[in-house]
Symmetry: C2
Subunit: 317 residues, 2 copies
C-alpha cells in the first residue's frame, strides 16, 4: 500500500480530530488564549538513515524533523518526547551516540525532554514527538491570491549531498562539506517560524521536497501558485552535482527533501517587515494548480520529491 | 542491554527535563495555572501482541496504555497522536482493523487525534502518544508514612489470561471470557485518575505488575510500603488458573502486567470521600522497602512483573 492509501484508510476511522483538521504539519488544540501544537515523526534506520550518518547526527535529526513541524506552525517548541525501538544486537556505543545527538539537539533548541520509552524491535526506530505553543497557528490553508510565495534559506543541498553519497561522486572537499552539512545536519527554522506567525498567511516546511509541499499548500488553500525557477535560491554545490549527473539543478532544488526550510505566503505590503533572510519565489493566484513560469511560458510543475513506503524511500521523478 | 541500562545511558545525555523530573508515568510542563501532561508508549507486534489478539484489540490497546499513563497523573486526556511502522507485506484488512481499534478507543475515551505518521518498518509498530491537562499532577513521589495504599478494580486477570493462552489451558468459556477481557481488552481508569487528583498523595498505573510498581512508588517517595496479601482484590478466574499451574494466586496478582489499574496512596481521613470502587491493600510506613505482611510475618515482597528487552517480554520471577 502507498502512504496516501494508508492515510485514507485511517482517516475513515478517525472522526475525532483536534481544533484544526488533520493535514497540517502538526495538530493543534485551543487551550485558553493559546494553541497547543503537537507533532510526531518516526525515523526508521533502514529507510531513513544513510550509512555515513553518525549516530549523533541520527539523534539530532530525530529532534530537528519534529521541531521543524512545530516551527512551520508558527509555534514555539516547548517539549520533546521519544520512543526507541532497539535491535537486541545494537552496539552500545552507537546507542550512546544517538543519546548524545538527542541531548545536543535539545540543548540547541532549548527543549526539555518530557518522556521517553524503550522497546526491543527488529530495526532501530526513533519516534520523536514535539509540542509547541502558538498565539495563532500558521496552517497550510491560509494562502490568498495576490500574496507572495517565499522560502527561507537555500534549496537543493540535501538532495545533492544524497546524490554525492549514493553515486560516489567525486567533488571537492569544500563542496562535499557544504552539501553534507545540509544532508546530514539540517536545522529547523524555529525563530523564523515564530516571526512568521504574526505576518504570514500560510506556511509549510520542506520535508518531502519543495514541489510536493507547494502542491499541498495550493490544494489546502484552494489557490494556485506560480513559481519563477530563476528565483529559487539554489544552494552552493547543487549546480555542480546536477552537472555531473546530467540533471537540471532546478529539478534538484524542487525535489530535495528534508531541507527543513519554511515555505510561506505573505501579503505584498507586509513582506518588507520580515527581518530574516528569505527569497520571494513566486505568487499566489486564482488559477488552481502549481505552475512554473519562465520566459513567459507557464507549465505545470512536476510533483518531485520523496516517496515513502515503496520498498525504500526514493526520489520520485 | 537491559532496559534499565538503556535508560541510564540516555539520562546521562538528557540534562533538560520538564517541570517534573523524569520518572513518572508521564512528563509535565506548567502552562499558566494548569499542567500539560504528556506520555508515549510504543507497541511492537513481535514482543507485545499475542497472536489471538485481533487488530481492533491491538489498536485499542495502543490508545489505552497511553491514556492510562495520563490518568495515573490525575490528568484529563485531551489528545492522542500515533506513529505507525508498517511492514511492506502487512495485510490491508489487518491494518484497517488497527485503524478501527484506534478509532473505537478514541471514541471511548472522547479523544481527538492530533497527528499521525506512517512509515515502512520490519515489524508492525504503533507508537502512541497521549496528552492531558491536570490541575495538579499526581506523581509517584508523594506517598507519606501513615497513608493507606489502595488499588482500583481487581488484579491478576491479565496474567491469568496470558497463562491460559500461552499454556493452552482448559478452562470454562465463562472463565476464559472474564480473563481474556482483561488480557486483550483492558481499559484505562480515566475518571478515577481525575477524581484522585484532588485527594491522593501519589499514584502509578499497573503496566509491569503490581509488585514492580510498588517498588517504584516506595523508592520515588522515599518511604516503605506494607502490603496485606489477603486484601488483594484477586480477579475472577485467577485462583483457578493459578491452581492448574501450581502457582500462588497472590503471586499472579502481584506479577500481572498491563492491568492498567491505578495504585494510589491517600491519607486515612480522606479515604471515605472516594466514591468509586477500590481496595485498601496496605499502608505507607517509615521503614524503606516493600513488604508483605501476613499472619504477623513481614517479608520482602518479590519484585515480580514484566521484564522488557531480554529477548522477549516475559514474566520475571
Amino acid at each position: 500500500m502507498r502512504e496516501s492509501e494508508i492515510i485514507d484508510l485511517f482517516l475513515r476511522h478517525l472522526n475525532r480530530q483536534g481544533d484544526l483538521p488533520l493535514g497540517d504539519d502538526a495538530g493543534a488544540l485551543k487551550l485558553g488564549e493559546k494553541w497547543l501544537v503537537a507533532t510526531n515523526d518516526m525515523l526508521v534506520r533502514k529507510t531513513d538513515v544513510p550509512d555515513i550518518m553518525t549516530p549523533e547526527q541520527v539523534g539530532f535529526k530525530a529532534v530537528t524533523m519534529n521541531v521543524s513541524d512545530i516551527a512551520s506552525m508558527g509555534a514555539r517548541p516547548i517539549g520533546f518526547l521519544f520512543s526507541l525501538g532497539i535491535p537486541g544486537d545494537l552496539d552500545s556505543d552507537y546507542l550512546e551516540g544517538i543519546a548524545r545527538g538527542i541531548g545536543e539537539a535539545l540543548n540547541f533548541y532549548g527543549l526539555p525532554v518530557l518522556s521517553a520509552d524503550t522497546n526491543e524491535a527488529d530495526d532501530l526506530i526513533i519516534d520523536g514527538i514535539a509540542l509547541g505553543l502558538a498565539e495563532r497557528p500558521l496552517t497550510r490553508s491560509g494562502a490568498r491570491p495576490g500574496e507572495l510565495l517565499c522560502v527561507t534559506g537555500d534549496l537543493g543541498r540535501a538532495l545533492a549531498g544524497y546524490l554525492v553519497w549514493k553515486n560516489g561522486l567525486e567533488v571537492s572537499d569544500a563542496v562535499r562539506k557544504v552539501l553534507y552539512e545540509k544532508f546530514l545536519e539540517p536545522r529547523a527554522r524555529v525563530e523564523e517560524g515564530i516571526a512568521l506567525s504574526t505576518v504570514a498567511s500560510s506556511a509549510i516546511d520542506i520535508s518531502d521536497g519543495l514541489a510536493k509541499e507547494l502542491y499541498l499548500l495550493a490544494e489546502m488553500s484552494g489557490v494556485g501558485l506560480e513559481v519563477y525557477p530563476e528565483r529559487l535560491p539554489i544552494g552552493e554545490g547543487v549546480e555542480e552535482v546536477a552537472g555531473l549527473l546530467g540533471l537540471d539543478p532546478v529539478e534538484v532544488a524542487l525535489a530535495s527533501g528534508e531541507e527543513f526550510e519554511l515555505v510561506f505566503t505573505v501579503p505584498p505590503d507586509i513582506v518588507d517587515s520580515i527581518d530574516f533572510e528569505f527569497s520571494v519565489i513566486g505568487v499566489v493566484t486564482n488559477q488552481k494548480g502549481v505552475y512554473s513560469v519562465a520566459n513567459g511560458t507557464k507549465k505545470c510543475l512536476p510533483r518531485l520529491g520523496w516517496e515513502h513506503l515503496s520498498h525504500q524511500k526514493v526520489y520520485n521523478r
